[in-house]
């Protein structure tokens, strides 16, 4: 039996959902421009050195990086075989934050620009191809700024501040061109767009660019909710989703701290 149940009175619902909003990525405590991290303050090196630099010599060797299941190559950003402050100059991704934000912005634009709304939960390769063909007024095989001029950016008015800042003032074509126009010819071909999305597909199809039958969708409306039994963080008895069937609805808020 579950440890805690809440009654969905209106005020509690509002509070719960407002709290849920803070689980979205990086929303809770950033109060400055994400892209302007001061290298002198990079907490990533401070974090790692405090945890692993046993002899305090400013270098974390493979022996010192004794994390079970850890892989030094994943944190050795400059690939010199050890972890030093140089790996994290400019922030946790070694100065790649600005590029990461550009890529996220481009993805966000594409989701709105190219999906066909049948399933707004992801973007499939077929949707991309169809959308490009639809927008390609001169049938050149690629989209230029003029052809994409009428494409609306996503409505982010209800999104966390980080997302709003990321999208502010951007246009779909410009946002995509700055990351995906590989040959810098001022137009976005289907190949260039596909290559860009493939590069971002980290294997769990967050923005699915795989063929539809391979893309995990999650259960659709009306389908049975996959059952699970998980342990509460607060301890106590495990909770089984199906134990609520016939009793009460269950809202599930999936997320992580980062």
């Amino acid at each position: 039996m579950p440890v805690v149940r809440t009654t969905a009175r209106p005020l509690q619902l509002v509070v719960a959902l407002a709290a849920a909003l803070s689980l979205t990525a990086c929303v809770s405590s950033r109060d400055d421009e994400f892209m302007e991290l001061d290298p002198a303050q990079d907490s990533a090196w401070a974090f790692l050195s405090a945890k692993y630099d046993a002899d305090g010599d400013g270098t974390i060797t493979a022996e010192e990086y004794d994390r079970p299941g850890g892989d030094l190559a994943r944190v050795d950003r400059n690939e010199d075989g050890v972890i030093t402050v140089a790996d994290y100059a400019g922030g946790p991704s070694g100065g790649r934050e600005a590029q990461m934000m550009r890529m996220m912005r481009a993805r966000g634009m594409a989701m709105t620009a190219f999906q066909d709304d049948e399933d707004p939960s992801d973007l499939k390769r077929t949707e991309l191809v169809t959308a490009v063909a639809r927008l390609d007024a001169d049938a050149s095989g690629a989209l230029d700024a003029e052809e994409m001029a009428g494409v609306e950016p996503p409505d982010v008015s209800g999104q966390p501040p980080m997302v709003r800042r990321m999208m502010a003032g951007a246009t779909p074509f410009a946002a995509l061109a700055e990351v995906a126009d590989a040959d810098a010819d001022g137009s976005l071909s289907t190949d260039e767009l596909t290559t860009f999305f493939d590069s971002m597909d980290d294997g769990d199809a967050v923005w699915s660019m795989r063929r539809p039958k391979k893309a995990p969708q999650g259960p659709a409306q009306g389908e049975p909710a996959p059952d699970f039994t998980l342990t509460p963080t607060a301890g106590g008895d495990p909770v089984t989703l199906s134990s609520f069937a016939g009793d009460r609805p269950v809202a599930l808020i999936f997320g992580s701290y980062t």
Binding site: L37, L48, V206, L230, A234, T258
Partner: protein, 116 residues
Amino acid sequence: MAFYVVYIREAHPLDGRSPMGGGNAPIVEDPVDLIERNDVARVCMTRLALEPMPALVDDVDDAVNRAYAAAPDRLYLVARDGTIAYRGGRGPFGFLPEELAEAIEAELGTGGDTFN
């Protein structure tokens, strides 16, 4: 009505492909076992003041995450009859609490068993 946070794998662990963190934002290494992920989840629930809501932790095989295609964040409503009443879009752009609120009101207003 029951609410659960389901804590899944980190969206931006320090040793992942798209690390974030630093300044005031959390730096989290990718948890290697359930105990470690549970510790991170508890810190998260405390720091984000979500503690009144119970949180469940997905094991490091990410089974529930994959079953629900939930990463990086996502909202679902399971109806009284055990079927999906609402499936939100993928986060961050698809993560829309007001949609979940509407779905909850619809589910409670009409009652899941009314049409059975």
